[in-house]
Amino acid sequence: MIAKLDTVGADIVGAGDVGLTLGQIRKKFVGKSGTKAKAREAEMRERLASLVREGAIRGPFKTGASQLYFAAGRGPSIETASDTVAEFVFQSGVKLLSKAALEKKITGLNRRFFADAIADAVAKQTIMELVQGRARFYLHRDVAAERFGFEVEGPTAPKKPALTFADLSPVYRRLKAEQGGFPAVKIFELIRALKAPKAEVHRLLIEEANTGRVTIHPTTSVELPPEVIDAGVRLPGFAEPFITVVVKDDR
């Protein structure tokens, strides 16, 4: 039985980091070839393109013969590619990997983020770029620290970098897509999805609200569970807590 296209966005969201291939989507929403399949296929592609334009999903990502779609905030990204790059550089130890060699090791969907991933890992000081002529090589910071006998920064817990709008944006998009494109996302849901401390999320939201990139809103027309109210932002001069957030110009 051919499913209705209205659920394609929800299916992609449900697939999480694994994503859905075009073939899987076609099988479910177009079905076997027939007289009406062509029209359904065109409708499906238009629907996918529309979801991509709205920012609810990302894709298509080509991997081999397949094309993959992911929900916003899911699947390959600069961050996932950056982690993979750092891991290869670390494993290589003092046997330095050239940029070209490293690139060959990064396969699959992370490949398209390779250039940004190198820049990201260098910027985070996870790896170090060494230059000889035109060639570039990479050394992991932990390998260097071990060889030089640098004082390792003791047993203090690793410090998480401060939450930024770049962290918020993909998660917001995913939550927005999961609730059918409705723009006001509960701060409670955002905190859970970001896996970040409440105070940190509140700090970011207030900062971003002041710059005008997001707006925050009370929710006074429904009864809310205490945990949702508790997760809201309280500001002096406002009687009601701010329960939801809208990222502006997120279409």
Partner: protein, 710 residues
Amino acid sequence: MNRPFASVRVNPFENDVVREPREVSFSVTGLNDEALNALVGKFSPLDADARPRVPPAPPPKAQLVVSPDRGYGKSHLLGRLFAKLKQRAATIYLRPFQDPNKAWQSILHMTIQELMRATDGKPPQLEMLAVAVLAHLGANFIGEEGVDNYADAARAVAFLRELGAEPTLAGAQERAWIEWLTDPETLAGLARRLRIGGFDLGQREKAWVSALAALARDERYGESWSAAVKWLRAEPLEPEEAQRLRLSQADNDGQGDSSPQEIDALSFRRLQGLCALASFHRPFVFCFDQTEFYVGDHALIKALGKCIERLYVDLRNQLTVITANQANWVDDIRPHMEQPHWARIDRPIPLEGIRKEGARELVVERLRRSDFDEQAIAAFFTDDWLERVFETLPELAVRELLMRAAERFRTLAKRPEPPPATIDALFQVELAAVRREKALQAYDQDSLMWFARDVGRTLEGASVERTASRRYFSLQWSWPDRRVCFAFEGGDHWKRWKSIAEEASALADRGPKGAFAAYVFRTPDLPKVPRPSWKASAPALDGARARGFRIVELTLDRVCELHAARELYSNALQGNIAFGGPETLAWLQARFASFLKELAGASTPSETPTRADSPAPDGAKQVPAVGERGLAPTQAERKMAEEGDALGPDDERIVLALVCEQKIVDIGVVLDRLGGVDRRDQLLRWVARHPSLKAHSGPHNTWLQWRIAP
């Protein structure tokens, strides 16, 4: 510096809720323009082509306007949409329906009521639609079939097209053409053109043109005009009414003994016909507002979903707009809608808050409207007041801004903050609003059903339930030893009332043992029933009466109270007042306790309510006869009622002089000069129609204001 503020009695910022979208007269530059333009953009293809549009334009998906919270301007946006499309669309404001089995009947009745409103001195939209359809059909008829021995066809066609485009009957020439167009012989030709033209009216083309002819030709509220409106409302016509419209028996398709499903199906077909005929005039815009009302009632939500689906699939020439607070829609409404139904709704259109620049514009406008000069306005903004309002957040809900501006005004006027408005005071505000607007006093089955169901829930030991399996008595209060049933019928066809009476008798005889009562509410604007001429239905009505059947004639005061109660409850559900839904409902239940008790107590047939608004002990027999038309208000009676709103030339002069001189006056002062508080409603209705006057109903008092720029 404080003097100008202290001298003004009405805080210009206290009115922060849009009660009636058509009253919206100002909007901040750029605020929510994107949302408005999105709606207008969806509407535009519907009226892009020349009239008549063949085939009728398919609708876009329903447009959902969502607000992140209360006070972002949902109803205000509808007001702006109505104003923007004033010359392009028939705009229909739909309050929530209450009976899931008769949703289309409710929508049809609200549509007809809206179409009967006269605006800007022009005829009601219903009459303009009638003239436009007839004129275009006449042009088609002359152009395509020709008229014997008539040489002026080309000019006639051009003239009729012009008349169709601007369908008012201002001159003698237009009226002469209407005479010709509504001649029975011509009407047959017009019906033929309609059928050939591909408008699906379910084989009722002749009936449609006959009804439209009556609307175009007869005096407003005249006999044929009223019969046509009745037919459009999918009500059965008496034989003499059908004869007036020259309808065949088949065309008089509203059956007296129809089931709710049949009534609803016929109502839908009428609405479908109206939408199809909009090809000749203006497309419809149906706006479902106050959707918070549906929350908690899954049957109503499902019915709303079905309506949205069928509007998209089966109705042409229309745009559907829905407004909602996002939290209500996402958490409470959408989960109970069928997926194929909510799939007919486009992606949501969000509303935005106001920023500093817009806030300045709004505050200045409100101050200017209250006759403050530039110096006073500058004083209002001193001490960086506006900067401080926006220092925490750069964007606020409009209502939040207005509340802060009201607070600022009180500070400058050195006026203490008034005590929080009591719920009773808020009820009085709604009551005053209903009393001054005649359209809000008309029969409204949704309000009555809401009252009997939601407010009636408090009755001790009673279970209140809808009864879908019955034809008419769709609501029941039950106790172990007694039952009270309610039917909601605004029509006056003898056969329908015979069927209602028969069902009441059957319920009394067949149901569980115990006392029984069956009520049908009537409001003063409806024709009185039963008529003395209803010989055939008299035995059924007498029999039912003996078993506890009563027609409850509500007084105008009671109607106003019930409608005000529903508005108050709606405001509570939308978060427009400081009281929540359950709290408001509990208060209303206490407020109407004695009325509810009377209705409940009357379930023993020997006990009959004794109040003026309660059923007469022996119903119809006491009702006096008024002329051949039965007891429907005659045209002359309606005129007299309208004239009753006039104050008289001398009193009008007194009011105008007083308000013009003082700019703003307590209504009590004005009533003193007029000689009595009993003229309050009459005064308010007259003020509502006067372009230079405006009434402000606050929780503590009512003021009359001289409008600087009407």
